[in-house]
Subunit: 135 residues, 2 copies
C-alpha cells in the first residue's frame, strides 16, 4: 500500500476530529510532518473526490465535505490510487514463451480479484470508526 493512503487517512482523521473548524495546510502538514505543499496537493486530490471542502483567503482552510460516518476507507483508497489496488502487471515477458505470453493477463485477473477482496473489506470501515480509536 501506498504512502499516500496513510497521508490521506491522517488528513481526514484530523478533519474529522476538528469539529467543523477549518484546519490550515500548515497545521495539517505539521501533524503529519510533511511539506505543506505536499499536503495541499493530496488535499486537492481528496477534494476532487468529494471528501474535503476548502476555503481560500485569510481564515481559509479545510473541512470534511461529508460526515465521517458517510466516508469509508474504501472511498479514501479509491481517491488515492490511480491504478488498481495492487498495481497492474508491469513486466514485458517473452511473447514466444507460452507462459510469458499469458502471464500478464492472468496476473491482472488475479490482482483484480484480490483488489475486490480488499475493497469489500475497506467498505466496512468508516472514517468515524477509525477516528474513534484516537483518545
Amino acid at each position: 500500500m501506498n504512502g499516500r493512503f496513510q497521508i490521506a487517512v491522517h488528513i481526514l482523521t484530523l478533519l474529522s476530529k476538528a469539529n467543523c473548524e477549518l484546519l490550515s495546510s500548515d497545521y495539517i502538514a505539521g501533524s503529519i510532518n510533511i511539506n505543506p505543499a505536499l499536503a495541499r496537493k493530496e488535499i486537492s486530490n481528496l477534494r476532487n473526490y468529494g471528501l474535503i471542502t476548502s476555503k481560500e483567503g485569510k481564515s481559509g482552510g479545510y473541512g470534511l465535505n461529508k460526515s465521517s460516518g458517510q466516508i469509508t476507507l474504501a472511498d479514501i483508497y479509491q481517491a488515492v490510487r490511480n491504478q488498481p489496488f495492487l498495481g497492474l502487471a508491469k513486466n514485458s515477458p517473452n511473447p514466444d514463451c507460452p507462459v510469458g505470453k499469458q502471464i500478464n493477463k492472468n496476473i491482472d485477473s488475479l490482482y483484480a480479484d484480490l483488489d475486490k477482496t480488499l475493497f469489500t473489506k475497506l467498505k466496512t470501515i468508516t472514517l468515524a470508526d477509525f477516528s474513534e480509536k484516537f483518545d
Copy 2:
C-alpha cells in the same frame, strides 16, 4: 503489490509446467525478460522458503520442491514480502498532536487487518489452480 510477487509467480508457473525438467536461470529470465542474476536472486529467496530446489554445475537448474497443488499463492507472497502485505506506517508524525501521536499505531493495526484478509484469500489459490489458466 510488489513487482517481485509477479516475478515469483512467473518463475513458479514455469517450473510447475516444466514437468520436472530442470530449467536454467537463463531460460527463466528470458521468459520474464529480466536479468538472469535477478532471477537467480529471487529463486534463491524462494528456495529459502522451501518452494524451489536447485542443482549446481553443468546440467543444473531449478525445479519445484513441492507439487504445485501444495503451494498456495499465500506461500509465494510470504516469501516475497519482507514486511506485511501492505507495508508498515512509515511517516514520523508530530508527537505533540493527539492524532499524530497515535496514527502509526492505528494505521499498523488497520494494515494488519487488511493483510489478514488478503492472506486468507491467497491461501485459497494454489499454484496448480493458477497454472491451469495457461494453455
